[in-house]
């Protein structure tokens, strides 16, 4: 009987070859059924056809920095001289050449502010003060006129700082407005509710372009004679109106997710409406709304590119203007690839951040 029992250690053996290792991986993930095998082969063939020419254009046959455009045209392949030649114009627009360190610092300040705001440890009331200080610094740097900086009027602004400023300023002003709108939409008072709903649905029902048109052609008519906003400010107002409506919907979602018991508890404590909202409901609702809010930020950041339609030169605008230079016509692939990557890096990191935040916040809700 004991003969059948194996004492002592069994030597380690490799698992069967068909369950681990590259061959098994291939079999499980690429060739598990006949149609998957067929699709794999088809797609591998397509990739084989597409990727080498793409890499060839991007890297191997690409003309190095400094090759003049005429040579690029003959040689084929990407012409990265376009990027090096036009880099400062695409990034900063027509901002005076010698002063371009100012928009550069602006970019750094805004990115630093946004990065700091991403860290949950910094979600304290003083963050608002840091933002006000940061945005003031940005204003001083861009306009100048004080502290020995020369004055630069905002018609000369352009490129990445303009894109960043339109979105960051737009969002920070639209945020409080959107909280009020969301509260208004959930209000018990019919008149306030109707006004909020009308505003939100009206703005969300029309394309952003029509709001930009309104800003560019109708705002001057709305204002008393003699008062005039410049084009940038009008576009900024249109963006704020637009962002407020979309963010209000994100926050409404958060408000709806708060259980009724929380409202009842606030009532039971004898808190009035603003105390209940400010101390109990909004902190919870905003935490829930953060992921959809970040998604609104992303789409809003992409939409700032529309200012090109009313003649402002944001990042996309400067790239398009650079392409209209006769010497550089036809290098649209390089231009759009370059700014496409910039937009992509911003949007992709925001979306990754939103996903991470969603996981973190959910962990917070778990008991």
């Amino acid at each position: 009987m004991t003969d059948n029992v194996h004492t002592g250690s069994i030597p380690d053996e490799r698992p069967p070859a068909n369950t681990v290792g590259p061959v098994a991986w291939l079999r499980n993930n690429l060739f598990n059924t006949w149609y998957n095998a067929l699709l794999t082969i088809l797609i591998a063939w397509l990739l084989f056809k597409a990727i080498p020419p793409l890499l060839d254009w991007l890297i191997f046959s690409a003309n190095s920095f400094g090759t003049p455009p005429q040579v690029c045209r003959q040689e084929g392949g990407a012409c990265w001289t376009f990027v090096s030649e036009k880099l400062r114009f695409v990034m900063f627009g027509t901002f005076p050449y010698d002063e371009q360190w100012r928009p550069l610092i602006t970019i750094v300040i805004i990115i630093a502010l946004v990065l700091a705001s991403c860290d949950r440890r910094f979600w304290k009331p003083w963050l608002a003060l840091v933002w006000i200080a940061g945005l003031t610094a940005v204003g001083v740097l861009m306009w100048g006129g004080v502290l020995g900086l020369t004055y630069v009027e905002n018609t000369l602004w352009g490129g990445l700082p303009l894109t960043l400023m339109l979105s960051v300023v737009g969002l920070s002003v639209a945020f409080p407005a959107s909280v009020l709108l969301a509260l208004g939409r959930r209000s018990q008072l019919p008149a306030i509710r109707v006004i909020s709903v009308t505003y939100i649905e009206l703005i969300r029902g029309v394309p952003l372009i029509s709001l930009l048109f309104m800003a560019s052609v109708m705002f001057p008519l709305f204002l008393p004679t003699g008062v005039n906003f410049d084009k940038l400010l009008r576009a900024q107002i249109a963006f704020i109106m637009f962002a407020a409506a979309y963010m209000a919907e994100a926050i409404r979602g958060g408000l709806q997710a708060i259980p009724k018991g929380q409202y009842e508890a606030a009532d039971a404590l004898g808190l009035n409406y603003w105390q209940a909202m400010g101390k109990i409901i909004l902190p919870q609702a905003l935490a829930i709304s953060i992921p959809p809010l970040v998604n609104t930020f992303i789409s809003f950041f992409k939409d700032t590119s529309l200012v090109i339609i009313i003649g402002l030169y944001d990042l996309l605008g400067t790239a398009k203007a650079a392409l209209s230079d006769p010497a550089w016509r036809g290098f649209y692939r390089e231009a759009y690839l370059f700014i496409g990557v910039i937009y992509w890096v911003f949007c992709y990191s925001m979306s990754k951040y939103s996903q991470k935040l969603e996981r973190d916040l959910r962990r917070g809700h778990r008991r």
């Binding site: 993930n29 690429l30 598990n32 059924t33 998957n36 699709l39 794999t40 797609i43 591998a44 018990q188 008072l189 019919p190 008149a191 306030i192 006004i195 009206l202 029902g205 029309v206 394309p207 952003l208 372009i209 029509s210 048109f213 309104m214 052609v217 109708m218 001057p220 008519l221 709305f222 204002l223 008393p224 004679t225 009035n272 409406y273 603003w274 105390q275 992303i298 992409k302 939409d303 590119s305 529309l306 090109i308 339609i309 996309l316 398009k320 036809g330 649209y332 692939r333 759009y336 700014i339 496409g340 937009y343 992509w344 949007c347 992709y348 979306s351």
Partner: protein
Amino acid sequence: MASETRDTARPSAPGGVSFSLSDPTVRAVFYQVLVVGIVIAVGWFLIHNTLDNLSKRSIATGFGFLDREASFGIGESLIDYHPRDSYGRAFLVGVLNTLKVSIIGVVLATVLGTLIGVARLSSNWLIAKLASTYVEIVRNIPPLLQLFFWYALVSESMPPVRQALNPIPGVFLSQRGLFVPVPSADPVWGTMGFALAIAVIGVIFLRRWAKARQERTGQPFPIGTASLSLLIGLPLIAYIAGGAPTALDVPKLQGFNFVGGVVLTPEFFAILVGLVVYTAAFIAEVVRSGILAVNWGQTEAARALGIDSGKTLRLVVLPQALRVIVPPLTSQYLNLTKNSSLALAIGYPDLVSIANTTLNQTGQAIEGVAMIMGTYLVISLGISIFMNWYNKRIALVER
């Protein structure tokens, strides 16, 4: 403001006139009157200024300009249009162009989006990775940039009209777009349309009869095959009965452009491809989350009951997935329609671009913007109503 009123307000003395802000009803009325008052005041201020400005600059008001001669050309139009036509007709051309690109765009984006959404869940690693790469790249680049890219791709890479590519006889590809031959006008097309209408009505009645019969006798009727053969067969019979005309309207180079046939312009191509590629990435995510929302146990239960896989998908999985998919899908359709206004930037004559030309020519900015906004609100409302109706039809009926 609220805390102020709370501090100063005291409960009203018994017997006195009850007009205190601590009374919830009074407070509610007070706040509403206040907000409505502010809205009216701001509105009045804006309207007053506007009227003032309009009279000072002597800009006409009203929609009378719609009857005046537009005197600008439009690149492509679904109805006959001539620069001598009115602004009203030009605007109608714009609305139809917007609807054309939106409807075709919605259909194609749904197909592509569904394919990519399903592909992201594929057990094939290569397909799943490719699909997620597509979604991550396309979603995070501004649609306008993508439009510019597609437009540049056509207008910069295609040969000029004189050296048009001619891959198949009668088909020409150049900077001016893709020209394809179409069958020449013939009375038989009208008859075929009529036959198709009859077939559609026939199918509706057939379905009703088949359902009643199945409920009565339990016998299923091959409704799919029957409907399909009716829908194809009747127009085909009409075509053959009409003499089966084969004459083609082939595009020919005349002067500086092709004449005849049907053209797919670079502008239309760019706006369509741009919108479809962009929206499909979002639809893919909607579809993926919808499919993931259906518990795998549902599929297993269906299999345990001996239902075949096609029916499982059609009768068990899809009805549940659609409940999750339809509401966000509606938003994507609305977004696509609204994004079609980006057409302005590449010169496709949609309603925004035509209204923009109109308001630049007439100076009637308010009417122009109002017409753009009004039209989009009507379109949005239409899509919402339809999708809500559909959503209600498929929604879970709970006791």
